[in-house]
């Protein structure tokens, strides 16, 4: 078996501008469909209108990368540089428009803390629900349950609905579940910037442990120091393309220089 965990070839993602914002209405679709034959009959200039209206943007364009098994790769870039889009494609949340990616192993994605937490359910119930959503089996959750509770430090609030939790407790519990999912490949999106610094330290320690156990880690972040401490390699994305690929310190220097 090869030692490549993720192979990305010419990956691209195109969005229609404004696609995420307003919802399509049926009326819009019907009028467009009904108007289609007339537009086809009309002059060239008229026929071009729909194209002019719908503008596209490539959030990700022709990205090729290889990540080795057990490697920790940091991805850095400005807002809108395509780093989150890349992670979403690798997590199979959204499909690419072009190119392909091949992943060897079980993928765990952590794009947000507390995905699927239900406010009415207790801490205990949410551990099971959130664990299942993040891809753990029931047996796995049961096995690691005590570890998760100990890590979160919520103690006697375990059987209280999480809507009564302080935001700190909520985040700690969510994080505790997340770091106990043990995939072969872990995709992380800037989720580390939460909690007080004591808990953050604890999370970093846990992440180092996860990495040391041989998990491949992809970390998207604005924070150059967090990438530097965890990753031996960094990729800099700019306008959906790979701008640079190298050691975190080297990338950091170029990135900082470019940003100002």
């Amino acid at each position: 078996m090869s030692d490549v965990a993720i192979r990305i070839e010419g990956l691209g993602k195109r969005y229609r501008l404004g696609e995420r914002a307003p919802y399509k209405t049926i009326r819009e679709t019907i009028t467009r469909a009904a108007g289609a034959p007339f537009r086809a009959l009309g002059s060239q200039a008229v026929a071009k209108t729909p194209q002019k209206n719908s503008q596209y943007i490539w959030a990700l364009k022709d990205v090729s990368l290889e990540v080795k098994r057990g490697e920790a790769l940091g991805i850095i870039g400005r807002n809108g540089s395509g780093k989150s889009t890349l992670l979403k494609i690798l997590a199979r949340i959204t499909e690419p428009t072009t190119g392909r990616a091949q992943i060897q192993g079980r993928v765990g994605s952590l794009l947000e803390v507390g995905t699927g937490f239900h406010p009415e359910l207790t801490g205990r119930e949410n551990i099971y629900l959130n664990g299942a959503i993040l891809g753990m089996s029931k047996a796995e959750i049961r096995r690691r349950f005590d570890e998760i509770v100990a890590f979160s430090g919520i103690g006697k609030f375990l059987d209280t609905p999480v809507k009564h939790y302080s935001s700190g407790m909520y985040v700690r519990l969510a994080f505790a579940v997340a770091v106990h999912v043990t995939p072969d490949i872990l995709l992380l999106d800037e989720v580390l910037a939460v909690g007080d610094h004591v808990f953050r330290e604890k999370c970093y320690k846990k992440l180092h442990e996860i990495k040391a156990s041989g998990t491949t880690v992809l970390l998207v972040s604005h924070d150059l120091t967090s990438i530097g401490s965890l990753c031996a390699r960094a990729v800099w994305l700019e306008q959906g393309r790979v701008q640079a690929d190298g050691s975190p310190s080297e990338i950091a220097k170029r990135y900082m220089f470019c940003s100002c």
Partner: protein, 278 residues
């Protein structure tokens, strides 16, 4: 999910064409399905005073109102059965169906926070939404048994067919739910269509009236509605009313099969851009 012996290879690329959702993949995610159903059941009556009594109150109070207005005042026939038990036996599967269809229809839109953050086969979401109301159905069913005892109605062996009609109701709600969920993710108009659709659909189903009230073409049209078979089936299996359903059931099964397959394919098609539009 059990860890496979060999590490799985996932290939990510733009998908083309029309496909059915992968049954094998849904099976792999069955534990997530279980937890989503469990969540819906747990959360449903949280912070209510009456709790699960609501599952009984809704069809029961509707039955009382129907018995008063349609049975007593309007004098709608009930094929020789006491009107209350006649209408309750119809309301029971109907309430389940309308709940399942409504919740499945809204399921994708209300799970946007999951869809944009985690991968799993999206069909799990409407599937969980149609399974959860089964608990309400079970609770409300106990009341029907009570009513049958009260009126001294003893079911025959035909009662063994009941699960078949319940399954038909489940499949109908899933089929329509898949269509509505996929449409609702893109067109929020659906949210306003569903209550209206539910209301019209109930009048097109012999819940209030017996199907024997209609003849000829109207009866055939009524048969195209799978819920007609379900409601008539419930009355036949439990109350011994009417004939064992024959051709009408096959028409309903065919109808549901078509709706289910097209719904599943359309759903799968929507799935690929779901996270971008929902």
């Amino acid at each position: 999910m059990p860890l496979p012996e060999r590490t799985p290879t996932i290939v990510i690329k733009p998908s083309r064409g029309w496909h059915l959702p992968s049954a094998r993949e849904i099976w792999q995610y069955r534990e997530l399905l279980y937890f989503l159903v469990w969540r819906d059941i747990k959360v449903r009556y949280k912070q209510t005073v009456l709790g699960a009594a609501w599952a009984v109150l809704q069809p029961f109070l509707t039955m009382v109102v129907f018995s008063l207005f349609f049975g007593r005042l309007a004098g709608i026939p009930s094929d020789g059965l006491p009107y209350p038990v006649f209408s309750y036996a119809g309301l029971l599967p109907w309430t389940f169906f309308s709940q399942a269809m409504n919740q499945a229809g809204n399921s994708l839109a209300s799970s946007a926070h999951l869809i944009t953050k985690v991968y799993f086969p999206r069909a799990i979401i409407p599937l969980a939404a149609v399974l959860a109301p089964l608990v309400d159905f079970a609770i409300a069913f106990v009341v029907l048994i009570g009513m049958m005892l009260y009126y001294g109605i003893v079911p025959t062996v035909a009662a063994l067919w009941l699960p078949v009609f319940l399954l038909l109701a489940l499949m109908t709600s899933l089929a329509v739910g898949l269509w509505l969920a996929a449409l609702n993710a893109q067109y929020r108009d659906i949210r306003y269509v569903v209550p209206f659709l539910t209301q019209l659909w109930m009048f097109a189903t012999p819940v209030i009236y017996p199907s024997t009230l209609l003849t000829g073409v109207w009866r055939i049209l009524l048969g195209l509605n799978p819920m007609t078979s379900v409601v008539e089936g419930f009355r036949w299996t439990l109350l011994g009313m009417g004939e064992p359903p024959g051709r009408m059931v096959w028409a309903s099964v065919g109808m549901v099969a078509v709706l289910l397959i097209t719904g599943a394919v359309y759903f799968r098609r929507t799935e690929r851009t779901l996270a971008d539009v929902v």
